[in-house]
Amino acid sequence: MAESLYDVLGVSRDASAAEIKKAYRKAAKEHHPDLNPGKTSASDRFKALSAAYSIIGDEKLRERYDRGEIDASGQEAQQRPYYREHAGAAGGNRYEDHESFADFGDQSDIFAELLRRARAGERAQANRPMPGRDRHYSLSVSFLEAARGGERMLAMPDGSDLKVTIPAGLRDGQTLRLKGKGDGGFNGGPAGDALIDIAVQSHALFHRDGDNISITVPISLTEAALGAKIEVPTLHGTLKLTIPPGASTGQKLRLKHQGIKAKGRSAGHQYVELSVVLPDASTFDDDIKVALESWSKRHPFDARATWAKGVDL
């Protein structure tokens, strides 16, 4: 049978919580890697100790362990860094404390030299180059700016203006990174970056799906029946669009490559959805009524012939 957690801590199964804590402290003093920086075997032993203590040092977990609900391996000690691994390394420099042998310099030339170097190192540490911090901003961009691209000035907290280039096809929620536009670096270190979170506003007429643009265009009954050439707005200016005779509401026409032209991606398209709009009923005079009635008699048409076919209702 494996060593029980009580054995690991060297206490009996009926030891009190205080006894367990005391035993853990005593053992941890001996085996904690950071209290024994030179003892390489310390970390394995301490891992076992703290794993054991994390269970039987906790009243609830101990009960469950005693009942056999959790086993010794149930709670592995978390992977954690030990300070001794960092203390002597470059990152630990700021915690160096040379006072303990400052007096040696008077008695030994070699310690005087070590001390001189250490103090020079401290100064170098304080003066070493450090990168500046990144700065976060948010920027609300109009639909058209995001679709076409452009430039915006962003007011900085220090009163200066930051020029932000908006690439065509920028999406809502995207973040722009402007290198070196964050806080200044220290001691010649590079500046941090400006990170700009983008919110894209919606547009009254244009809608967007990736790089494709869609727009709904109203057309008259005459244009729908006889066909027409109409003017349609696009991101890149007004274009002539040919409506075929007999067009219906909901029909979609494509303007090839007239969507978003983003760098590095093939251009999106613009889809034009037609919407037939009738004029006010008072304009339907007798002529048109007679004409429509006689026309529908000659060409009967059931607009709902296939509409609800096969649909559960």
């Binding site: 920086p37 860094p81 300070y83 002597g88 390394a89 042998f101 450090m130």
Partner: protein, 114 residues
């Protein structure tokens, strides 16, 4: 230099399970942990390891903040001594064998004299 990972105070609290915001600000104001910068927002993995140790000392050994201060001062001195001793040892090792022999001989005679 730029590939070093830095942590803000909030990130430290996430990384070090037993660390609370109050505890961290207390330890920073006592100088037990110090940032690489002067804005108290750039901590690194050294500080995470140091905070784990401070949590051990505070929770498992019931050390007060004053106690932690004393332990930290001594601990920093021990680590500094260790690194200086290692530097000295490496300097001696890099000497020609007759110089090393002479130093070892001197060690013996100083010991005997003391």
């Amino acid at each position: 230099m730029t590939d070093v990972e830095f942590f803000t105070q909030e990130e430290l609290i996430v990384h070090v399970r037993r660390l609370s915001a109050d505890r961290l600000s207390c330890w920073i104001s006592e100088g037990l942990v110090r940032t690489v910068d002067d804005r108290n927002e750039r901590f690194d993995v050294t500080d995470i390891a140091r905070l784990e140790l401070l949590c051990d000392l505070a929770d498992d050994f019931d050390l007060s903040t004053e106690g932690l201060g004393i332990v930290c001062t001594l601990l920093d001195q021990v680590h500094t001594l260790r690194s200086q001793l290692l530097v000295l040892g490496k300097a001696v090792d890099s000497q020609p064998s007759d110089v090393r022999e002479a130093i070892i001989g001197a060690l013996t005679s100083i010991h005997r004299r003391d």
